[in-house]
Amino acid sequence: MNDNIIEEVTGSEYKYGFVTNVETETIAKGLNEEVIRAISAKKEEPEWLLEFRLQAYRKWLTMKMPRWAQLTIPEIDYQDIVYYAAPKQKENKDWEEVDPELKATFDKLGIPLSEQMALSGVAVDAVMDSVSVKTTFKDTLAERGVIFCSFSEAVKNHPDLVRKYLGSVVPYTDNYFAALNSAVFSDGSFVYIPKGVRCPMELSTYFRINAQNTGQFERTLIVADEEAYVSYLEGCTAPMRDENQLHAAIVEIVIEKNAEVKYSTVQNWYPGDKDGKGGIYNFVTKRGICRGENARLIWAQVETGSAITWKYPSTILKGDGSVSEFYSVAVTNNYQQADTGTKMIHIGNNTRSRIVSKGISAGYSSNSYRGKVKVVKGCQNARNYSQCDSLLLGDKCGAHTFPYLEIENPTAQVEHEATTSRIGEDQIFYCNQRGISAEDAVGLIIKGYAGDVLNKMPMEFAVEAQKLLQISLEGSVG
């Protein structure tokens, strides 16, 4: 294949790398109990939540940074991070009152915050640095009883719900970054879909890191009560900076009997420049639990950003007959590193899961799939199918597959298969013969390769995801 094409394509710039000039209120760098108290005080939190944070912090102090992933992570100085940064704005969150700078920022990102202009049928919670700037369509949703608001608001307005579910899926003892997040989390989204309600529109949270030297630690909690349905989208971007910024989030999803949640992510944090300088460290714990019978959880993700990604959206299939699916396209280019995958824990009888993971690596990047399928002893007739394919574009990159299958019940049927290859010369040749240029051919092949996953994304995202895929791989094809 033509070397020029590769260069042309890798040359593309990250288009969300701008910085917004907005007055930001921050607290001093560093991490200690005082800082945690300060964050809690700023958010006017109740005593129990502060206690939760402090417990998490004390736990975190006893933990060590895990090193098992196929990643090279430079030492992170946790005292050199600002744990709270909020764009200054007035209390009243009417649309007219939102800082025009912020409005412009989100307009530029393609996330209009005015409800008249908004994408039809998508309600957005926009989070900048540590706080939620605006949540659209709140009233429309409230008519149906759907609660969709920032996490801080939820703590104020629905403390019982938050207290009941916070930490119920990802306890603060879960892992190093979960403990860190539980100690210092600032904002995020809260979703509650009441019994029997089908959420009338897609819900979406857009995360934006803007301020310098800050880390973003948001927390999302989604509860779907019996027979409820919601489709939730998540997007993220950050400015281009030479230093690395940390993003350690938690997503908890609780799904009751016969309910269904579809969680889609387009992760496009700043990946660093061509030489691997800068970029976001994306260390995220995402987990859902299918608590009731026949609950369903579908994960769909397109991962193109971040310097380092470490993320395993997981499902605990506790209710009998519950189903979970995981679809992922992870793209790494230049010096990006990704260690991502899923966990499916089968506990209930007749539970089913399906994993489709497509990795694409280019440049000098390293892209790993790491997934676990566990069937516990008492779980009858569990069924899992996993397919993990890796595509290598270029001879300097790596693609790795680490599945873990732990089966303790003889009625389980678990299958895993994986392949690694590059785009075949014969495939390109075939396209060339039919008048399709090498670059278009590669685009076509990748589109087909990732198609299984992209088809699972909601319409609004699928288009964006497809474009993103093209941009991320531009110049890396060869």
């Binding site: 290598l392 392949t419 690694t420």
Partner: protein, 453 residues
């Protein structure tokens, strides 16, 4: 001190106090490796616990017994050739016995072409210092994260040495029979070194047996070097008493156009861990690893393999299958590593498992670590039951459920066993597996041991 710390401390004491005995009779090359190896063992934290390679193998109960380590050779007062008789009929081999990890002094020297060397490791170290220096402990350090391999290097005193010079083809298979026989619980470290010259060929058959019902723990290392164009067919049949534990680490270094094929059949044993490290150092190398494990009761079988594609144009093929019954546990971890320059690699890996009881467990970790783009690598792993449709097919032809199940399990196992090249052995293993699956005794015909009490 918890169990593990005590075990590690005991090894340190033994290494310090027993040094003189340990080094007696061994060549300078062997003794020269000990210090560094033991340091490595200590540096890695002693007996591996919760490391990635041993994540599913709990070694504490295996090591936490009152073993004796015998640092000097105890002459056997009986003729082992009388005590042990291979039950595979029509299999003509050059038998070599080891007892408790040491060369048996009553071994009859086989009739071989002149330059071929088969002797004890200690003797080889003294008589062929150059050859020994070139190959001893050159391949085992590959497992730089495995404390048990380092432990073997620190404590190994003896084993089997085989050298097949250039262009020599051994017609008869070499049969290395590892016997365990003691009056007290025993821990041993056997070290084998097999070197094949250019275009040399050999078939190596390794049989593990216990002759007394003490607890045994063998931590063995075998290094195999294949010069260009050489070929080794390696077959190991593990059939031991349930109180015996064995940890086998096999290191294979392959040069240009060499071929290595192994079949590891784990029939019986308390705890079996097989480590297989294959390095494809030069172009054109190929390796095929096959394995079959059928644990029942509370047995543990743990297979670990690491195939390192260093050079381009090599192929590897790995297939392990298991049938787990009762409360047994099987683990499989296979890693295919393709280095940046190893283009045109073709690697395939598969692991299939059948669970027969509610308490049997399987953990499987097939891994691909690929840093080159022009490769074709794939792997697959399955855990499941016998195919309902196939069962229906057999039953509709008047075959009873039990018999049909047996036929299908046998077919499942034979898929691996068919790769055994020695026909009499293949038939014997098929027979043993058939008996084992039927719940009948699988021990050898002449054996008088109460293995399955």
């Amino acid at each position: 001190m918890n169990g593990l710390e005590k075990i590690n401390a005991d090894f340190a004491t033994l290494f310090k106090d027993g040094r003189e005995q340990l080094e007696a009779g061994c060549s300078a090359v062997m003794n020269g490796c000990r210090e560094e190896a033991f340091e490595k063992f200590v540096q890695l934290g002693g007996i591996p616990q919760k490391t990635e390679a041993y994540s599913y193998a709990d070694l504490v109960p295996v090591f936490d017994k009152d073993y004796r380590v015998v640092l000097k050779y105890i002459p056997q007062n009986v003729d082992m050739n009388e005590v042990f008789r291979c039950s595979v009929t029509n299999l003509v081999t050059h038998p070599i016995l080891t007892v408790n990890g040491r060369w048996f002094d009553g071994n009859v020297e086989p009739e071989l072409p002149e330059e071929v060397v088969i002797c004890s490791l200690q003797e080889a170290g003294m008589r062929y210092p150059d050859l020994f220096l070139r190959h001893y402990n050159r391949y085992a350090p590959k497992a730089d994260q495995d404390g048990l391999v380092a432990l073997n290097t620190a404590f190994a005193q003896d084993g089997v040495f085989v050298y097949v010079p250039d262009e020599v083809v051994l017609e008869r298979p070499l049969q290395i029979i590892n016997l365990l026989r003691a009056n007290a619980d025993l821990m041993g470290f056997q070290r084998n070194l097999i070197v094949l010259g250019k275009h040399a060929q050999a078939t190596v058959l390794v049989c593990d047996h216990t002759l007394s019902s003490q607890h045994f723990l063998m931590n063995n290392v075998t290094e195999i070097y294949l010069d260009s164009g050489a070929r080794v067919d390696y077959c190991q049949v593990q059939n031991q008493y349930a109180g015996a534990a064995q940890i086998n680490s096999l290191f294979v270094s392959e040069q240009r156009n060499s071929a290595f094929e192994s079949n590891i059949v784990s029939l019986y044993g308390g705890f079996i861990r097989n480590n297989m490290y294959v390095s494809l150092n030069e172009e054109g190398g190929s390796c095929d690893l096959y394995g079959m494990y059928i644990p029942d009761k509370k047995q543990v079988v743990d297979n670990y393999s690491y195939i390192d594609h260093i050079a381009p144009n090599c192929t590897s093929n790995e297939h392990f299958k298991g049938v787990m019954d009762d409360s047994s546990l099987a683990n499989f971890c296979g890693c295919i590593r393709v280095r940046p320059n190893a283009g045109k690699t073709v690697a395939y890996q598969a692991n299939n498992n059948l669970l027969l009881s509610d308490t049997a467990r399987i953990n499987t970790k097939p891994q691909l670590v690929i840093d080159a783009d022009d490769v074709k690598c794939s792997h697959g792993a399955t855990v499941g039951q016998l195919d309902e449709e196939a069962m229906f097919y057999l039953r509709s032809r008047g075959i009873g459920r039990e018999e049909a199940k047996m036929m299908m399990m046998f077919g499942f196992a034979h898929d691996i066993i068919r790769h055994v090249r020695l026909e009499p052995l293949r038939e014997k293993i098929d027979d043993l597996i058939d008996k084992r699956l039927r719940g009948e005794l699988s021990r050898c015909f002449h054996c008088t041991l109460p293995c399955r009490k």
